[in-house]
């Protein structure tokens, strides 16, 4: 399916996601992309076999987490946090940067620009 995603303001993100949740959509995934000096996060929802996408453009700081609406978003948000260095606000369970990468791995390896440094020895909780 060729993607036609709708842009959403960061402020409205949670209410939009809530609408999908109440409409009986299931959460499929989030995808993070590098733009020039920003990031684009695509949220994908599905009802039956149909997909719907929304996206936000962010500079990587204080992105509201949707893990309190869809608890399964937790794994993918932790992954994005680690691989791209994006800060999520209100992450239900924060792995502190030890979800995918080890102590000596490169920091935010998939991002073109560096946002935050991983605090060493983060707790796995």
């Amino acid at each position: 399916m060729i993607v036609n995603s709708r842009e959403v303001e960061i402020g409205n993100l949670k209410s939009e996601v809530k609408k999908y949740h109440d409409g009986g959509y299931r959460f499929v995934t989030e995808t993070c992309l590098n733009l020039e000096d920003k990031f684009k996060i695509i949220y994908t929802f599905a009802i039956g076999y149909d997909l719907e996408n929304i996206h936000i453009i962010t500079d990587g700081k204080n992105v509201p987490s949707v893990s309190d609406i869809y608890s399964c978003a937790l794994a993918v948000e932790n992954e994005i946090k680690e691989l791209f260095g994006i800060e999520f606000d209100g992450l239900a369970v924060d792995f502190g940067g030890n979800f995918m990468l080890g102590e000596s791995s490169p920091i935010s390896p998939q991002a073109d620009i560096e946002i935050i440094r991983r605090e060493k020895g983060g707790k796995n909780e």
């Binding site: 990468l101 080890g102 102590e103 000596s104 791995s105 490169p106 390896p109």
Partner: protein, 157 residues
């Protein structure tokens, strides 16, 4: 010294194998497992797959080493009693294979622990794996003959 000789001989005749998946794509893992199951049946040669590295003589490693599991691999290797033989199964374990340019990959387990046998193939065929294990058993035998092994008759009870 009859018993000591006997123990040495039986250790090298029936080596036990521990398998550690060090970031492989599962292709080589299932071929290692296929060696244990009826069609290729490695137990014909007295090789038993054990879960505990302290019981094992041969370590089969599959997959690329990444930043997170290099310590685990080192740990498993250190836990094994001397003498020990390491088999790198598949090209990922040999050199990092197709993933050697990835950011999280060290590339080849020989950067972490010494390797005695390299088995090429992507994934290595069970026949190649059996060849590799046979070679490993030969090397183990040689190591036993070369080295004074700390096995006292007393400790056997």
């Amino acid at each position: 010294m009859g018993l000591k000789e006997f123990v040495k001989k039986s250790f090298s005749k029936s080596p036990w194998v521990v398998h550690y998946d060090c970031g492989s794509c599962n292709g080589c893992d299932i071929e290692v497992l296929a060696c244990m199951t009826p069609i290729y049946d490695m137990e014909r040669f007295g090789m038993v797959n054990v879960g505990n590295p302290k019981h094992a003589d041969i370590l089969i490693v599959t997959g690329t080493v990444n930043e997170k599991n290099k310590d685990v691999l080192k740990n498993v290797y250190d836990m094994m009693p001397d003498p020990k033989v390491v088999v790198a199964a598949g090209i990922c374990a040999c050199s990092g294979g197709i993933f050697r340019d990835c950011y999280n990959v060290l590339g080849g387990i020989d950067k972490v622990i010494p390797v005695d046998v390299y088995v090429p193939g992507c994934p290595a065929k069970p026949e190649a794996m059996i060849d590799g294990l046979y070679k490993a058993a030969q090397i183990l035998k040689e190591k036993y003959s070369r080295k004074e092994v700390i096995v006292s008759a007393k400790s056997l009870g």
